[in-house]
Symmetry: C2
Subunit: 347 residues, 2 copies
Amino acid sequence: MKVQGGRFMQDMIRVAVDAMGGDNAPGEIVKGAVEAVATRNDIKVLLVGQQDVVAEELGKYDYPKEQIEIVHAEEVIETAEPPVMAIRKKKDSSIVVAMNMVKHKEADALVSAGSSGAILVGGQVIVGRIKGIERPPLAPLIPTEKGVSLLVDCGANVDARASHLVQFAKMGSIYMEHVVGVKNPRVAIVNIGAEEEKGNALVKETFPLLKACTDINFVGSIEAREIPHGEADVIVCEAFTGNVILKLYEGLSSTLVGAIKQGMMSSLKSKIGAALALPALKKTLKAFDASAYGGAPLLGLNGLVVKTHGSAKAKEVKNSIIQCVTFKEQDINEKIKKNIVEETVEE
Amino acid sequence: MKVQGGRFMQDMIRVAVDAMGGDNAPGEIVKGAVEAVATRNDIKVLLVGQQDVVAEELGKYDYPKEQIEIVHAEEVIETAEPPVMAIRKKKDSSIVVAMNMVKHKEADALVSAGSSGAILVGGQVIVGRIKGIERPPLAPLIPTEKGVSLLVDCGANVDARASHLVQFAKMGSIYMEHVVGVKNPRVAIVNIGAEEEKGNALVKETFPLLKACTDINFVGSIEAREIPHGEADVIVCEAFTGNVILKLYEGLSSTLVGAIKQGMMSSLKSKIGAALALPALKKTLKAFDASAYGGAPLLGLNGLVVKTHGSAKAKEVKNSIIQCVTFKEQDINEKIKKNIVEETVEE
């Protein structure tokens, strides 16, 4: 019997992976699964999707057979489909089948690069919230000068209440400390000024509540300008704002990098310069590549659901799977229950 | 008597300039004023500030005496002062004196690099709104791949109503067409998805109202990712969101550029490359430099108030002054009254 770190095979962490979701499915998804199980032998990947298609991809690789299994699902939810309807109608889709596996404890976690809407809806409707958690936020890691910060919430449920944001702050803090490994993470709320009296109605209501939390390291407001400088580890905001920050990050980075590359191609001299500087440039841009950090967890569910980019390649899929292992090993959901839910009940 | 374009000297456009506001005052402000009057002879700049200090700066330059005048103001409002209090107490500050000149039609416009809060408050309280305009938005130009877009609102009044956003769209459209010169500007509302049914409560309420406007070229929702790609000319959003977009733009650009420069200094090879590519790189980054476009107008006031960056140098001050001339020449406020206010009254 294989052992690792004192853990027996029956203690393997089972990660359901949506083999059909995303722009590069199933090729890159299957490849990512193979790469993930190669890193450690206590992961079991359950590739959920069309049996023959997934088997064909998987056939291209050598891998420990006991660590990857295919679970058949006939249907696929397309990105453009209205999510609530898709989740309700396509019972045999890879996302719904995988969600049900998490619900019924046949899998510890789910990774999908498929429709964000379907993942967010399915997470809440099928997997379900931890009792006491009001709203499960989507919490991607975003690159900064100093490393990464957790941006919570970037989900689809907008117009949050102050009590939601307080739970986001606490869950984000637990995740950042125990999954990403940042000790005593600095928690800040997105605001339009550094002063406590600034902000919209939601921020003004939330600020004193966060200030009163003794179990997080609340450092106050953060202006959007300071986010890329890494001035906080957990960036708390309402989902509309989070979505704007996340997408502007993507859009502006690609625009600037594109403009710089194009600018360097403008003369022979600068072309030679670009060629010489390219390796260093690539290294810099890699530090700003969020894919190295895996996907975005949907926090506060009975199980773990991780959303990776629709454009995810094998590396990101692999890292998302490994992220699930850390999440499970660190018993994040138990910590959420103990630190947030029980405390809320006491209050 | 000097003439230009058939205009007599008494038709000069009078721009009050806050000589004491901003990180580089009064040096760069005075320099910007001198450069502005050098470009055309129908501008009269009224430099508002401490007589002796401003006169000393002005003494360094040769300039047409009839085009620059100093207006004494004893006090200065500091950036850190609470704006409402500062405006109320410091009656003899450069901002308040200049605002009163606009109010009493002794100046057509005001340019200040001083405290944003004081400018926003003073604009509303002293200069006052055009009758029928519910809320005057601050509308900076932001750089994109294709040129610039107008981001409206980035002001200090958050939690806007749908009717505010509709006026922002219309005023922004008039400004973009007649001051920046974009024909039939595309107007979009910031949203978290392209579909009409997406969004928070405010966006959902505003979307059909914008769609029903026959006097603007409304192209629907814009995701933050598309803003740097220049997918719309007028970007409409509530001020909290606008502030986040504007500041993230600044923070992310400086972070990325800094990281790229630093990355290029990492080896001798890349250093040589950087040296060769530097002129092209600088040219690219210049295209992303918002200062070329002047300052941000506060739209919908009885007169024009332009806020330039606190860090503005002479070039930005000059461009802000020239922007005031275009604003006045194009009779923007008359267009706002005719197209927005009268229409509102009719409804």
